[in-house]
């Protein structure tokens, strides 16, 4: 299974973000030569990855993990933290961020974290 780079899709994404392809490549540190070479490649993924996908009869995308969602989540929390700290300058940024992170956990996990931290700090002493 081949994973080609779709210049149409890339141009579409650029257009949605109102940026030009040449600016994107410059910001990403990718030369035009490298970009055009990529577009001509049969597959942008290593052959070994494609062979594993072929053997499984699935798309390589089905076993590649996408870290961008995790990054987006952190960015979102950071933005909310910024907003809270802007409105309440006395707030401790780290505490606000950790609180927002905790809210994504079930209450029992929040409590466990608090108890585990106490045990760990007790051991370190």
């Amino acid at each position: 299974m081949k994973m080609r780079l779709s210049s149409e899709k890339l141009k579409q994404l650029c257009s949605e973000r109102r940026i030009q392809l040449k600016d994107l490549l410059r910001d990403a540190g990718v030369s035009r030569t490298a970009y055009y070479a990529m577009t001509r490649k049969e597959s942008v993924l290593p052959k070994s990855v494609c062979r594993v996908a072929d053997r499984l009869g699935v798309s390589p995308a089905s076993f590649l993990s996408d870290d961008s969602a995790k990054v987006r989540r952190i960015r979102e929390l950071q933005a909310r933290t910024d907003e809270i700290c802007r409105q309440h300058p006395a707030c401790d940024r780290d505490v606000v961020f950790r609180t927002l992170m905790n809210l994504e956990l079930p209450p029992i996990e929040r409590l466990r974290k608090a108890l585990i931290r106490a045990r760990k700090s007790h051991i370190r002493r």
Binding site: A90, C91, D92, V95, V96, R112, L115
Partner: protein
């Protein structure tokens, strides 16, 4: 692996037993703040009981092979037993209202299959500000920051 044993099913089962026996209690202190999302550090889970002589408490303790150690001199009443070691008994919370008054504004926190009552962070802050011990002063800034963060999360 050891971390999974901290506040595990047996502790939750003990709290479930208390609620099943209709014991009026709520979680207070930093453990209550942690349940609500504040990134705190705490050694124990403080349970504020309206009445420590409630028969449901002894019944729950018995079920878990634990006992109630009565107060002695300056020592407050305590639970003793493996399952209940992490719980501290609280009979008075200084700087805020009586149990019956505070339970009305307590926050419902789902823990496993049960819902616990927890003292709201604003009331934890009020109590710690009133007590003003060194250990209270150390945690107050973090509690206040957490409270502001939680305010923003409430709908409406």
């Amino acid at each position: 692996m050891r971390e999974n044993l901290i506040f595990a099913d047996r502790e939750v089962a003990f709290l479930r037993e208390l609620t099943r026996n209709k014991v009026p209690f709520m979680v207070v202190g930093l453990s209550a703040a942690a349940l609500q999302g504040a990134p705190m550090v705490t050694q124990d889970v403080d349970l504020w009981f309206r009445n420590i002589d409630h028969p449901g408490i002894r019944k729950a303790l018995k079920k878990f092979g634990a006992v109630l150690v009565p107060p002695f001199g300056l020592n407050p009443p305590m639970f003793s037993g493996e399952t209940v070691d992490c719980f501290d008994i609280v009979l008075t919370v200084h700087g805020i209202g009586e149990f019956d008054e505070e339970i009305k504004t307590a926050v419902d926190v789902p823990v496993g299959k049960i819902t616990l009552k927890a003292l709201p962070i604003s009331r934890i802050i009020a109590s710690k500000a009133y007590l003003n011990r060194q250990k209270d002063r150390m945690v107050l800034p973090a509690l206040r920051s957490a409270a502001k963060s939680l305010e923003k999360q409430r709908p409406g």
